[in-house]
Subunit: 531 residues, 2 copies
């Protein structure tokens, strides 16, 4: 079964059949604002953290495929027939409905043709912004005027904390509020609580997101989920699409929703373009600014161009031409692109990672740096410094560093350590230095997580000491809470061959670095232990 | 809009229109095994805890109403048309589809008539069993033979821990396994881990549930969710119903499912009856025993009779006849029935309470006892003793007691206390004693949560001392973490008028009890403090 192909010229993967066996996802945005989007426009948007800054709802484990997302519904006012621009959730027969999805570098384009109406939606998050743009073009391919409605929709969470939103309904169902502010929908969580911008993990604070149209006027809006879907509606069968109208309702408690209704009457061959914007902040301020920034097709095109440039400039750093086009495509585009995504998000946001691990997995992130060092050198250094401050004075490390909740010098050490975490420094730090030649980096002083400080070189020594001080009866490092195999608790006396190999590499690397730095005694110290 | 009526003769509430504005739920089972079921058969089943012993999946906050539950699908083999016995999830037009739901005392009956096929399902959990019975009767109202298929279905969790099942997909998607054992489907969670029966809260242990038919042979089964629904199927549109067959697949990792396909060809006027059983334990043992216990219509009728008797015997204790039939209905049936349900579950399981508060809310449970004392006297005493052991030696109480995870004498006190918890003893304990005349109860010795012990009378004194020792500058008790108003943190110095009133009642009651017990000094001590 063939579902698509690589379009290397446009740096896109093209999905030509929407009924893929599993959802096929892409990533929008960057480290601190982003989203997951599938070939059927399912997925979610988050700010800083998929778990604690979740803006829109997505039910993980929704095996029956009622998936929330960025659904753009269309409706023919002549007979009430309705569909979604992505094949799902309405799911029209594929005999009548054509769809194409292009997953690109930081953007996704989903196109459909159904009953002589063509719709194309380009999803992306402008560089430096904290909002998404859904750039929508509807074209009449018919030879007569058509009366068409478009309903862009998003399902905001009641609380940005994903677990609370899922489980703590007694609380979360009473804290959401939507209201229209000059055509922009403000979606508030806890509007009666103070803001607490310095404590991102405080879920009981006032927060806002917004939903807006740019380039067109809405005929109606919907701010209340129950009103949009009706009591027994589903994503496939929303009440508003059956009725052909949004209810102009605000949510006040209960569930918020974000939808606009746009009524069009395009002439034969005519196409209409506008944008829907969903982002972080209040309608009055950030909402207005986003609308102003995306006030023309040129502005949107420019912003999308910047997104492509953002990613493609990072991918151009490294290229290879071989006789195998498949290998070229993999090595020049898809492998580095995915390496960068995992560098930015460290696997915390996807269709599977639901925020259960919220932050930068320590060992994972150090591994990712080996690849990113060549692609995003300055960002790699920044991340490396962050992770070095996740090391405690005893040489062990935090299993997860949350950039939005990390306070070097003030972190309590955990009761148990993983034995491999600090060892990955010996892959990551030399990778960065070899890329840059920046030997001075080894001299940079950085704090430990629980207090005290050392040069980067000192951090590395502490990592080795941590392993040496925790050796078992055969002289091999002990596994502690676990080594790279998360499933075995080797404890304080069980030894790990895996970390022993890492330690050998560490001592080798450390001696080589010491040589470079002219630290003969340190080199000697490491080499003695190698014997 | 009229959706139903009270049928006081049958002690049922009858819902005659299935499209109620919100789901209308009833409770099956008892304290340690039960479930929530709506008028459209949505809901879930749990063992001991809706949070940590969740057997079947239910996505809270599913505002678009794709709700998991105990769905019984039917299909006409002649033209492939299919429906659900409850109106939802398939949701046939109400012009063609008739439904009636009867919520009774510990059971729910859902009936439908569609295209001359009548189906009736009676849902209940036998007294003393840890399984549910779905007793299914399908009747041909047509004047010709009909070829009909029935698909009873349940959606088991991967992990009994509801939060893990919702969020920790990297783990939970790899631990489920289903297999057929002599016609009974065994659904295993963590089959490769040891059992840990003494630690109910250990989510990483082997557990089993089962799904079986009694009284009929299945034509096929389904143990794999993806196979039943297909990649883009929904509850409204499962692949198996489109295809007219279950796939006979086992789950091995990924998502389990539990369904049987029964093929019937009833003659005009003929009806066929059988049961589907879902319960706790392995197919080989508990599954077989359940099937053997429900091996005839007589056995099922007897078991349902016992359920009615279980509840109705508890409700008969208290009755009143007034000129107002509505008041009679409320006071004789619905108020006490709901009082008992909240007594057993303490609001931890419902369509809203998703396990976020998992256990017996302290103050709530003490309040519930005032009502239950007359209805279930022995069980009230048992609960009262449990809650008294949730009091610490300093007189303060645990905010929540988890019966499956409570170890009196070994519980660490919390850092902060709620000021009202212990005060509710003065409502609950006298209510029990007044009902029974059991003055000796005050002399019963019970441990404190953190060690030490006292008579019930001593527990009461400690409760008063706790308040007196935590008074503010006007001599009123301080609010501490909170009083009955959960939203105000009055702290160590802010005073609470509410608890002051409670304290006054407490001193009054204590003095009266002391009089009854001939403890003149104690009575004097309390009365002095009242002045």
């Amino acid at each position: 079964m063939k579902f698509g192909y690589f379009d290397d010229h446009n740096l896109e993967y093209v999905i030509t059949r929407p009924d893929t066996p599993r959802p096929w996802s892409n990533y929008l945005g960057r480290a601190d604002f982003g989203g997951v989007i599938t070939n059927n426009a399912a997925g979610y948007i988050f700010y800083k953290s998929a778990d604690q800054g979740r803006l829109t709802r997505f039910r993980f484990n929704s095996a029956p495929a009622e998936l929330g997302g960025r659904h753009i519904y269309l409706r023919d006012r002549e007979d009430g027939d309705y569909w979604s621009n992505a094949w799902m959730p309405v799911g029209k027969s594929l005999d009548e409905f054509q769809a194409e999805c292009r997953h690109g570098t930081g953007y996704t384009v989903i196109k459909s043709v159904y009953r002589k109406i063509r719709c194309e939606v380009r999803y992306f998050a402008p560089v430096g912004g904290t909002f998404e743009v859904w750039h929508i073009t509807v074209a009449n391919l018919d030879n007569r005027n058509r009366r068409i409605q478009i309903f862009p929709t998003a399902e905001p969470q009641c609380n940005w904390n994903a677990t609370d939103d899922t489980k703590n309904l007694q609380y979360s169902q009473y804290i959401a509020q939507t209201r229209m502010v000059d055509g922009i929908l403000d979606i508030a969580s806890n509007p009666n609580m103070p803001e607490d911008p310095d404590n991102f993990t405080n879920k009981d604070q006032q927060r806002h997101s917004f939903f807006a149209l740019a380039g067109i006027e809405a005929a109606a809006f919907e701010g209340d989920l129950a009103s949009f879907f009706g009591p027994y509606g589903t994503y496939a069968k929303p009440h508003a699409l059956l009725a052909g109208t949004c209810g102009n309702r605000h949510a006040y408690g209960d569930m918020p929703f974000a939808a606009f209704q746009v009524d069009l009457e395009p002439e034969p061959g005519e196409s209409v373009t506008f944008a829907a914007l969903f982002g972080v902040g209040e309608a009055e301020s950030e909402g207005r600014r986003a609308v102003a920034a995306m006030d023309s097709e040129q502005a949107v095109e420019h912003a999308l161009g910047e997104v492509k440039e953002f990613w493609q400039s990072r991918l151009e750093v490294l290229s290879a031409e071989t006789p195998d086009p498949g290998f070229n495509s993999m090595i020049n585009l898809w492998a580095p692109l995915n390496n960068l995504m995992t560098f930015y998000w460290s696997r915390t946001a996807s269709l599977v990672y639901a925020g259960e691990r919220d932050g930068l997995g320590f060992r994972d992130s150090l591994q990712d740096l080996v690849g990113s060092a060549a692609l995003v050198t300055a960002e790699t250094r920044e991340r490396l410094e962050l992770l070095l401050t996740g090391q405690y004075a005893n040489g062990g490390c935090k299993p997860v560093v949350q950039p939005f909740n990390h306070h070097p010098g003030e972190e309590e050490p955990p009761e148990q350590f993983r034995s491999d975490d600090a060892m990955w420094f010996f892959n990551a730090v030399p990778a960065y230095v070899k890329e840059t030649g920046d030997l001075a980096f080894y001299g940079k002083t950085l704090p430990f997580a629980d207090g005290g400080e050392a040069s980067v070189f000192g951090h590395l020594r502490r990592a080795i000491e941590f392993s040496l001080e925790r050796s078992g009866q055969h002289g091999l490092p002990c596994g502690l809470f676990n080594d790279w195999n998360d499933c075995i608790r080797l404890g304080e006396s069980g030894e790990t061959v895996f970390v022993a190999l890492q330690l050998r590499l560490a001592l080798d690397e450390y001696a080589a670095i010491a040589d470079l730095l002219g630290e003969a005694e340190e080199a000697q110290w490491a080499r003695t232990r190698l014997e």
